[in-house]
Amino acid sequence: MMPAMCDERERLIGYVYDECEPPERRAIESHLDECADCRAEIGALRRVRQDLLAWDVPAHEPVWRPFAPAPIVPWYRQVPAWAMAAAAGVMFLIGAAGGVVTHAMLPQERAVVATAPASTPTLVPIGVTPTQLSEAEQRMVQMMRAELNKRDVPRTTSNAQLMPASIGATLTQDQFNNLLRASEQRQWEMVAGVSNEYMKQINSLRREMSGIKEAVALAQQGGGR
């Protein structure tokens, strides 16, 4: 048996927003025919909804600046980096092949212009392998990159400072990249802040627990005597 509607007025919400199944709607309507209290309740909820319409959002300027149209770039700038690198490689090979041919055709004594000194000093210090050196270098690059990222966007930088101020202005790729970096940094700071809060709470709970344990141990000792 269906419970009395008057005790479950949340059910009226589906009716007020016209978002209930037809059997539910019929049940509510037949109840409303008999119950003046629920009719009054429906009327009051509808009046509140009407009042809510009065809450305006003040007129405001657009908060986002559209991206600047893509710049017109010369054809050679549109060639992907890998294609440029491949072309450079081909040019290098052609040059090298020319050098080899010239070397083979020219008399021997003219080809020897200069030779590297016999005792080229090694750059690798004694006791350090090239692999270790490469790893150290990678670590240094990572550290520098992290440091640069930190310096790049100061903590206080807000979107308002990075977004072009005038309404008609457009957002360049560089400005957008700065906004993205600032956003990422803020998110990390927020995560760090939340983690810090949790750690504080855990530590405080831990202290409380150890205090309780000590108190229990003392009480047990007292009881034992």
Partner: protein
């Protein structure tokens, strides 16, 4: 032909900034309205909206269309508003609109036939609603905002807030009931104030 959100998202996530421009211009107003009504201050709403779009852009590749783009954007905005309130350690503010000069007000008429008295009454009601909403618990306020001003279905709200559908209905009912009591009390106070002013002047 107007492209759908999903089409624009696909192009934007492939790096087409013009598609992202269109998504922003399509959703900026509702997102701003949600942030403004949640936080109650224009500068805060502005910051949150910009941040919401930046987060959305950064997350576009991860957005697989599990929900509507708008629902996803609303969720990002609500999370940011929640963080904002937590960080500032304060409840939402009610910003008092500047200027009650009838000349200023005349520009705000919704219809040319609206009298200045009606306009003032509407403004007072707007402030009263803002105040009453700011005093609601966050869950009730969010449910009412999403339902009343953004027209989401109960199911969409439940999905967005990760709660059962029945909880959404309960929050709406309780929130509207509290608002009703507060607005009725405020209207009664305003009426007695008007009566007192009228009696003292006559």
């Amino acid at each position: 032909m107007t492209r759908t959100d999903e089409e624009l998202v696909a192009c934007a996530s492939a790096g087409d900034l013009e598609s992202f421009n269109q998504l922003v211009s399509r959703w900026e107003r509702p997102i701003y309205a949600l942030a403004y009504r949640t936080l109650g201050r224009e500068e805060d709403a502005r910051d949150v909206v910009q941040e919401a779009f930046l987060r959305a852009y950064r997350g576009l590749r991860g957005f697989k269309g599990q929900a509507k783009f708008s629902s996803w954007l609303y969720r990002i905005t609500l999370n940011l508003c929640r963080d904002w309130i937590r960080r500032e350690r304060r409840t939402p503010l009610v910003q008092v609109p500047e200027g009650t000069d009838p000349v200023d007000l005349a520009d705000e008429r919704v219809a040319p036939s609206e009298s200045v008295e009606d306009l003032v009454a509407r403004r007072e009601l707007s402030q009263a609603v803002a105040q009453a909403m700011a005093e609601l618990p966050e869950e009730q306020r969010t449910a009412i905002l999403l339902k009343e001003y953004h027209g989401l279905t109960f199911q969409e709200i439940a999905d967005m807030l990760d709660c059962p559908l029945s909880t959404v209905k309960t929050r709406l009912y309780q929130g509207l009931s509290v608002l009703r009591r507060r607005l009725e009390r405020r209207q009664a106070e305003a009426a007695s104030l008007r009566r007192a002013t009228w009696e003292s002047s006559s």
